[in-house]
């Protein structure tokens, strides 16, 4: 690490055992970063096990944060500061470092036992294997225990404060106030005053250690303030933004929301968050499985609430039969997919974008469903509102793709004003002379092809719906061959009509003509944006994946090469070939890890050299 205290941006990585409280420490550091006015992006990266045995490499839990004044859109490629609580944490982080990285290690974690568990034959702190880095080894374990000794905690409870000790040290380095962390401890440990006091003491002790020790390598770091648009900001994760967005969508539609789900990583945080939004017109139902969850959501929509459900790939697979029912019965439904590494159970805690095929094509029958994707944590809010708007306007299920990265990662977010959003509307029941309520229920809006949302309990509108084919005009069951063709056409046109309501595709960066355009979707916006900027490449990021924005084909035709970057084996490339007939160059990464800016830059340069 250079000694220049005023940096444009800096990447900090915290790593330790699952039981070390790394994620908590990270999120507290992020809050304080936010309050300090820096822009930032975070990447929590933790193991599949709840608490893997201490000391193992597969049990390492890490939290990476990138902060600075430059618009920060990724958690950073390579850490400038690494805090490693044990040898395993050091070992798995080393490949990411660059010469000069400042490594702060907890000396006490480097026991012979832990070294063996991590697969070290010798202690790397003792030989010169870390010579290209700046290493600070502090007895964090011991110093922490000393700082909390007075509170009479058990050794294990006392030891648990060491994340706050280390946080204190970081706060000192970054010249942060301790207030936000103390405030959090006050609220969280209201009923455990001894633990609260011990953590505060550890925090102060770590801070004091920075102030008083002779750590010559560590200098205070001052990071510039972000150049953010004026406004009120908060730090937000994708789960939090999605929950608020779903509640807001209900408010904009003036309907209650019934969110029905079955827990699965990384979808569960959305359920947890929504479970606390009861006062905001949201109910949550934890179903016995994913099929019951989507079923109950469909039932809720049938009953006039906004039915919503969420899962990740394997759970969405189980919902596909029911999605066909929602398409056939023309009921609104919000389906969120927090994608994770596949196939099958795959890499449940790692991120991936490999459910795009499933979202667009993954059903029996000709069963079109609109598909949207959120591009960042904060964007989950707007995309949830947009998806709900489409669901109600066109009376259709809508799939909203997010992923494991978005679920957990935090970023600063400009708090929107709800009154800036248009109300969400559905096609009303139209007065008519038809005496057949079945017809009234299937009367359509000419532009959206959405039918009226008639729900049980409404007087004089008794009718029946179901999954058998229906007559185009009367809505009654029909086995008529021509009608089936007409209904197939209708469902296709309904999907296509969505394109008339969504905005044209805009350039995210750069000119709308040129050699290369970088195309992405979903959570990769951050690294793609940086790579585009650094290489001066035009960049398009797609939110509306099905149907695609009407102008997209033309826009892409302004470039000689369309490079499609995604965290899967080339699924958007397939969609673009299918829908636009173009021949993109896939740039794929399927490692369970987000793109690094550097690898994107390299790939773009390679592509350029080929043109």
């Amino acid at each position: 690490m250079t000694k220049n205290p005023q940096l444009k941006s800096i990447v900090v990585r915290l790593a330790g055992d699952s039981g070390d409280g790394i994620q908590l420490m990270g999120s507290q550091f992020a809050v304080s970063t936010a309050l300090s006015g820096s822009d930032f992006a975070t990447f929590p990266d933790y193991p599949a096990e709840i608490r893997a045995p201490a000391g193992t490499t597969f049990g390492v839990s890490a939290y990476q944060i990138n902060l600075g004044d430059d618009p920060i859109t990724t958690p950073g490629d390579s850490p400038d500061v690494l805090v490693a609580f044990n040898p395993a944490a050091l070992k798995v982080s080393l490949p990411m470092l660059h010469p000069g990285t400042l490594i702060i290690v907890n000396n006490d974690g480097f026991s012979a036992r832990n070294l063996t568990k991590a697969g070290y034959d010798a202690n790397p702190l003792d030989d010169d294997s870390l010579s290209e880095y700046t290493v600070v080894a502090a007895d964090i374990g011991r110093l922490n225990l000393e700082s909390v000794a007075e509170f009479g905690l058990s050794k294990s409870d006392g030891g648990q404060c060491k994340n706050f000790w280390a946080l204190g040290l970081l706060f000192w380095m970054f010249d942060r106030s301790l207030d936000s962390a103390i405030g959090w401890l006050d609220r969280r440990l209201k009923n455990a005053p001894a633990m609260r006091d011990a953590n505060v003491a550890a925090l102060r002790a770590g801070h004091a250690y920075g102030e008083t020790s002779e750590l010559s390598a560590v200098e205070k770091v001052r990071v510039g303030e972000a150049q953010l648009e004026p406004g009120r900001y908060r730090s937000i994760t994708g789960s939090e933004a999605m929950a608020l967005g779903i509640a807001a969508a209900g408010e904009l539609a003036d309907r209650q929301v019934l969110f029905c789900s079955y827990p699965i990583t990384p979808s569960s945080p959305l359920l947890h968050r929504l479970a606390k939004l009861g006062e905001h017109g949201v109910g949550t139902f934890q179903a016995e499985d994913e099929i019951a969850a989507v079923g109950a959501a469909i039932g809720a929509s049938y009953g006039g609430m906004i039915g919503a459900t969420s899962s990740s790939g394997p759970g969405i697979a189980l919902k596909t039969e029911a999605l066909g029912l929602a398409v056939s019965a023309e009921l609104p439904l919000l389906v969120v997919n927090w994608q994770r590494g596949g196939p099958s159970t795959g890499l449940p805690t790692k991120t991936e974008q490999s459910d795009l095929y499933q979202a667009i094509y993954g059903r029996n029958g000709d069963t079109p469903i609109p598909v949207l994707a959120a591009a960042s944590a904060g964007d989950c809010f707007d995309t949830a509102i947009e998806a709900t708007r489409i669901a109600l306007r066109h009376m259709t299920p809508v799939i909203l793709l997010a992923d494991g990265y978005l679920s957990n990662a935090a970023e600063p977010w400009r708090i929107p004003d709800l009154s800036d959003y248009a109300p969400i509307e559905s096609h009303p029941v139209e007065a008519s002379d038809s005496s057949d309520p079945q017809r009234l229920a299937f009367a359509r809006d000419a532009s959206s092809l959405g039918r009226a949302w008639v729900t049980p309990g409404m007087p004089d509108l008794v009718h029946r719906i179901g999954g058998l084919e229906k007559d185009l005009s009367s809505g009654h069951i029909s086995y008529d061959p021509d009608n089936h063709q007409a209904m197939t056409d209708l469902r296709r046109k309904k999907l296509e009509s969505v394109a008339n309501f969504i905005p044209d595709q805009a350039m995210e960066f750069g000119d709308d003509k040129g050699d290369i355009v970088l195309v992405g979707w979903g959570s990769t916006r951050g690294p793609l944006y940086q790579a585009a900027r650094r290489t001066g490449t035009s960049f398009i990021h797609i939110r509306y994946l099905n149907p695609l924005p009407k102008n997209l084909g033309e826009l892409l035709s302004g470039f000689r090469s369309v490079v499609v970057a995604e965290m899967n084996d080339g699924q958007l490339s397939t969609v673009l070939r299918d829908k636009l007939g173009i021949q993109p160059t896939p740039l794929t990464k399927v490692t369970g890890q987000p793109f690094l800016i550097s690898e994107l830059v390299k790939a773009i340069e390679q592509e350029r050299s080929k043109l």
Partner: protein, 328 residues
């Protein structure tokens, strides 16, 4: 609300598409009559079904109706009931729909005690798919998928219901108007999940499978009609009764006049006896076999909900979270 409706008001105008002679017709008739009798309102009533012959039911009732997908009706109806607890929600399902593919939703709906009236048309066969054996088919049933006779031990709807914590279980025969009317009315009145098993004759694929006890001529001897608080008597002159053998923990049939063991008085809340009644095969127990009310799920759901599912506060109130800052 306005004038009293009749059974006719609950019959829809849809052409009925069951096989002529199917037991479903009789059930439909009893149902529309029961709806009229309990004073139901079409606007406020919904029938939700899965897939199967039985599941066609909603088309023929003049109320709201949702013909969904195979096995999932209880889940979908749960969402509907949570969205609108004021609705009368009936679920119509078959032995395949409810007990085969839909088994999981059924047991979870019952244990939660969601306020759904579930009618299980048990014909011991998959009718709509042309006659394969079902989870209630007896051992040795020959069907296209069990040409040498089935060997899957059948499941009992009643035992399953009680095993998963169901609070209401009743039974009736498709063509027994009085008995069926009674249980439909009781189910309607129950605040919670009410599972009613209806023995239904599939004349095409499982004709007369219940003939041994549905025959009117011998009904006295083969049927035990239960009423809460009344003694368990049957036979032409109520000359026989049911007693509990507390050496062997089984029910036994005794002579009503000479029995040394006391004839049981039907107590709908007695789970032990209810299970034995469900298992009884000669006579077959009919009526409300078990009823033991508990708070309905939708009631608990809305009561636990901080604002009874109303929007008390705008999202704007919480959108800023605990920490926010101003950028000028």
């Amino acid at each position: 609300m306005s004038s009293q409706l009749t059974a006719k008001d609950f019959a829809s105008s849809q052409e009925i598409r069951w096989c002529p002679g199917c037991g479903d017709y009789a059930i439909l008739k009893s149902m529309t009559k029961a709806l009229a009798d309990v004073g139901a309102r079409p606007d406020n009533t919904a029938f939700v079904s899965g897939i199967g012959c039985a599941a066609r039911f909603p088309y023929y009732v003049n109320t709201y109706g949702f013909h969904t997908i195979h096995g999932r009706a209880p889940a979908i109806a749960t969402g509907l009931k949570l969205a609108n607890p004021e609705l009368d929600v009936w679920v119509v399902t078959g032995d395949g729909d409810a007990l085969s593919i839909g088994g999981n939703h059924l047991i979870h709906t019952l244990r939660r005690n969601v306020g759904l009236k579930i009618l299980l048309f048990n014909n011991e066969v998959y009718g709509l798919t042309k006659g394969q054996y079902s989870p209630t088919s007896r051992l040795g049933t020959r069907t296209p998928s069990s040409p040498d006779g089935s060997f899957d031990v059948p499941i009992s709807a009643g035992q399953l219901a009680l095993g998963c914590g169901g609070r209401f279980f009743a039974r009736a025969i498709d063509t027994d108007k009085t008995g069926l009317a009674h249980v439909l009315e009781q189910a309607h009145a129950f605040d919670g999940s009410a599972l009613t098993e209806i023995y239904q004759n599939c004349i095409v694929y499982n004709k007369d499978v219940y003939a041994s006890f549905t025959d009117r001529k011998t009904a006295h001897d083969t049927q035990l009609h239960l009423r809460h608080g009344e003694p368990m008597l049957f036979g032409k002159d109520s000359e026989r009764g049911i007693a509990f053998d507390n050496e062997r923990y089984v029910l036994k049939i005794v002579d009503a006049s000479t029995a040394s063991d006391p004839i049981l008085i039907h107590d709908e809340t007695n789970e032990v006896i209810a299970r034995l009644l469900i298992a009884l095969d000669k006579p077959v127990a009919l009526g409300v076999i078990y009823r033991n009310p508990a708070v309905a799920y939708e009631t608990a759901f809305h009561a636990h909900h901080p604002s009874n599912m109303q929007r008390r506060r705008s999202v704007a109130d919480v959108i800023a979270g605990p920490n926010s800052w101003q950028v000028e």
